[in-house]
Amino acid sequence: MKRNPATFLLLIAALVAVASASARGQALVADLSSHHVAITTGFTGTDVLLFGAVDGEGDVVVVITGPPESVAVRNKQRIAGIWVNADTVEFQGIPNFYAVASNRPLKEITSPDIRETQQIGAEHIATKLAAEDRDRPAAEIALYREALIRNKQNSGLFSVEPEQISIISDRLFRTQIHFPSNMATGSYSAVVYLFRDGEAVQAVSTPILVEKVGVGAEIYNFAHQQSALYGLAAIVIAVFSGWLGGVIFRKV
């Protein structure tokens, strides 16, 4: 385990928090090292530290969920010798990002039924079908659902295995959450569960805001809000750079 001064301070903060929490009768408190992820021009992904304290024994599970989106899952079939997107199923309200962390394997903590209802683990993410796909056979939909989760995992946006949560002396816990560079902007939420004897006894939720900042954000807004002007600017920049290149090389 890496120990640095910032971590140490956070653990002290957690200790103070748990002291006041237990005074109020709360079994679980948690917070993040940052509630704001800024996507700057040098952004290559980031780690956020989630820490907290529990009052007494129990298992801790953390679920991070990104903003919802609609996703089309397409199936290719061979038609006249070439592979063609032949069929599509549309899923709605799928989180753009999903990560889970726990102090020991999920199946040792709680039953599949509870994991299903609480959406703990990528395979238990609730999926909603678009209206036109609701009459299709369940077995067929299951294949598309698996494909959706598999593709999301391959692009690093859904976790395959839970991250490790370390618990110190049955009281303090911490885990590192990794956000990849291809994450979407928007509101994320981190939900921390405390399990005792397989039952979720408490859950706390804390928000994370992911947004573009700086030059990148300004370019994005320019492109979307004044697209005609942006298009003209793009052409002017291109013509000027091309001309500049030509002029510079004339002297060589």
Partner: protein, 306 residues
């Protein structure tokens, strides 16, 4: 060193992008093609979303073509009159192409149509150019080159509205370059490329222009057609990533200078056979991807809220 692209919404290695721009820029200066038919698939390959690759590439081709045309203008290798007529057709064609693009998108098979377009057009043009230039090279080796007519005459030369193109040493109907410009314009909007790889052979074989003027004139008209596409993409889909285009064009502008300097050292038929091999290579790669069984038969794509 990494850079986060604001429109593509992904982090890329700056040096990889610069190298890609440089390599394609060199080829663009050498052959007088914008290089879009190589760069767009390459960008998609490194993970840039396809619509962003197409929109950004149009923007970058504007720059590399300006740079390339300056080098050719210095040598007097641009037929502005011919370029202007081609361009008039190009504007009509590329605007029509955007309409056609939207229609095909509505049918849900735009990706397949784009790929089939690549295979068909790259295949035909690459094949024709390869056979023709190989023949020329073989002939010039066996017999000492005999000076014949500048170009062959056929029914196309009987069309009305004849115009004199001094720089190209041609007296042909203006309808001919107008139609060529329009046809290439449609394809360039549909395939997300400048269209040089179609324009160059069309000028040589259909219009009968001398090879020396073809490259400069093609670059000249590509500037305006890709500027039109850039503008239309920026307004309708917001998929033009200017920082990505700038990174690509820094590499491309430098590469294009070396390319156009190098091109004067090669004979016309040598240039054409090299270009033909490259075109056939890209065509074969896309065809292979359509035929070979994909690793995962399922793919996902985020849907934009209707």
């Amino acid at each position: 060193m990494h850079f986060y692209l604001p429109i593509a919404e992904m982090s890329v290695n700056i040096f990889l992008i610069l190298a890609m721009g440089g390599g394609i820029g060199f080829l663009s200066g050498l052959f007088g093609v914008g290089g879009g038919f190589l760069m767009t698939p390459l960008l998609i390959f490194i993970g840039v979303p396809a619509p962003v690759a197409v929109g950004t590439e149009a923007n970058q081709i504007v720059a590399s073509s300006v740079s390339g045309v300056i080098a050719h203008m210095r040598r007097g290798n641009v037929d502005f009159k011919m370029g202007g007529v081609l361009l008039a057709g190009g504007f009509v064609g590329s605007s029509l192409g955007v309409v056609l693009f939207k229609y095909l998108q509505g049918l849900g098979q735009i990706d397949l149509v784009i790929k089939l377009c690549y295979v068909v057009f790259l295949g035909i043009i690459g094949g024709l150019m390869f056979v023709e230039s190989a023949r020329t090279i073989l002939r010039s080796r066996s017999v000492s080159a005999s000076r014949g007519k500048l170009h062959q005459h056929n029914w196309l030369h009987g069309l009305p509205f004849k115009m004199r193109f001094r720089r190209s040493k041609l007296y042909i109907s203006a309808l001919l370059p107008l139609m060529v410009g329009a046809g290439v314009g449609v394809l360039s909007a549909l395939m997300g490329v400048g269209g040089g790889f179609i324009m160059v052979p069309a000028m040589i074989y259909l219009l009968g222009m001398p090879t020396s003027v073809v490259i400069g004139t093609s670059l000249f008209q590509i500037i305006f057609v890709t500027a039109n596409v850039t503008f239309l993409q920026a307004v309708t889909t917001q998929t033009v990533d200017v920082p990505l285009a700038i990174l690509l064009l820094i590499g491309a502008v430098i590469g294009a200078q070396f390319g156009s300097k190098y091109s004067v050292r090669l004979k016309g038929e040598q240039l054409r056979i090299l270009l033909a091999v490259m075109v056939i290579g890209v065509c074969a790669k896309i065809a292979y991807d359509l035929i070979v069984t994909p690793e995962d038969l399922y793919s996902i794509a985020p849907l934009i809220a209707h």
